[in-house]
């Protein structure tokens, strides 16, 4: 299941790129993030409480950045194991471009693929696409707000 979205961010591309690679910003953008520890420049361990509708489960997992193209984008993979709840994995390819003539704002485009397994998939199959979409949209909206705040 693939879905995509865009965010127009009121900050120049180099600022957006710096934020995309800043662990503190990433932690800020993961909804329900309880802990976030850098394993290396590209890999982070996280504990996330996912709260969607009636479901509230704690996931342990990691966030991995790869295929970096300086100022152009990267691939971000987040996956988590929620014990009895099952597991979830989201892969997003992020691309940055200037918008307008003045290059003062940036167009972020993402194409994401979500996978779930275990009980979540079993009972939530009709909801997976809208929930995954909401989580990805939430992540990039928060990124947008965080970048704009840090650029001020």
């Amino acid at each position: 299941m693939e879905f995509n979205g865009t965010q127009t961010i009121a900050a120049p591309r180099h600022v957006v790129w710096r934020c995309l690679n800043d662990p503190a910003v990433l932690q800020e953008c993961v909804p329900g993030c309880e802990s976030f520890v850098a394993e290396s420049d590209d890999e982070f361990k996280a504990v996330v409480v996912a709260s969607v509708g009636p479901v509230k489960a704690r996931f342990k997992g990691n966030l991995v950045l790869s295929e970096r193209i300086e100022l152009g984008g990267y691939r971000i993979v987040g996956q988590g194991e929620g014990g009895i709840a099952g597991f979830g994995k989201m892969t997003a390819t992020v691309t940055l471009a200037d918008t307008g003539d003045d290059a003062l704002s940036t167009l972020l485009t993402y194409v994401a693929v979500a996978e779930v397994g275990g009980k979540l998939a079993q009972i939530g199959s009709r909801l997976v696409s809208s929930v995954a979409n909401k989580l990805a949209d939430g992540f990039f909206k928060r990124l947008n707000a965080t970048v704009v705040a840090s650029a001020k």
């Binding site: 509708g53 979540l120 009972i123 009709r126």
Partner: protein
Amino acid sequence: MYETRYIRPATLADAVAFLGEHADARPLSGGMTLIPTLKQRLAAPSHLVDLSHLSELRGIALKDGVLRVGAATTHAEIAASAEIAGAIPALAGLAALIADPQVRNRGTLGGSVANNDPAADYPAAVLALDATIITHARRIDADAFFVDTFETALAEDELIIAIEFRLPRRAGYMKYRHPASGYAVVGVFVAEHAGGVRVAVTGAGASVFRWHEAEAALHENGNASALDGLSMDPSRLPDDANASDRYRAHLVQTFTRRAVQALTPGVAGHNFA
């Protein structure tokens, strides 16, 4: 199921106070979504605070062109209410189409609306009828209430006590029921008010939404022919293993047309608009 404690507060004020003091407590109404979730161990609230016996959340009353329905009213009570069938027949009809008899006898209006499942039926009625959600703290317009999948304007410990429906001139609800769950694959509620027509679609998107193009067309001409040539853009709709975006768009068009054909006024004396 994880261990939890069952609490039955005597008053609404007690319920609000308890939820305010216990961050991991959850309000329980009919429990038709929450209890199966707990049985699957997908949530572990410290307490379940049962709202279903609170007198403040009960009652059906029609006054000055407004139908007020208590949040703890079950789907079966709404389906069987002569008062609702007289005032807004489409609302009583909608309640009779929800899930199965077991769910209709336990599930409640307030519970369904607070949960905001993207395929639930009531959100379409609440949005199309331009209803007002009354909580213990404030009044919220339907247009500002439904935010996203399972997300509403309610604060964490805010409880719905009633919903007030403005009586429409005519209203109709048509739904393509999922054959297994009874959830709306697509459900469309059309309501004709003095000021214009509102078309609310459930099941087809991340959350209930209004189809403004259809509203504008129906405002000009209240017949189903107003929808001729009007199509829903599939790119706005989810595309997944359950249904493709084009199939969903087609269902929205078809069921909007059927809802318009099914528009029914309330009986004389109830029809204030």
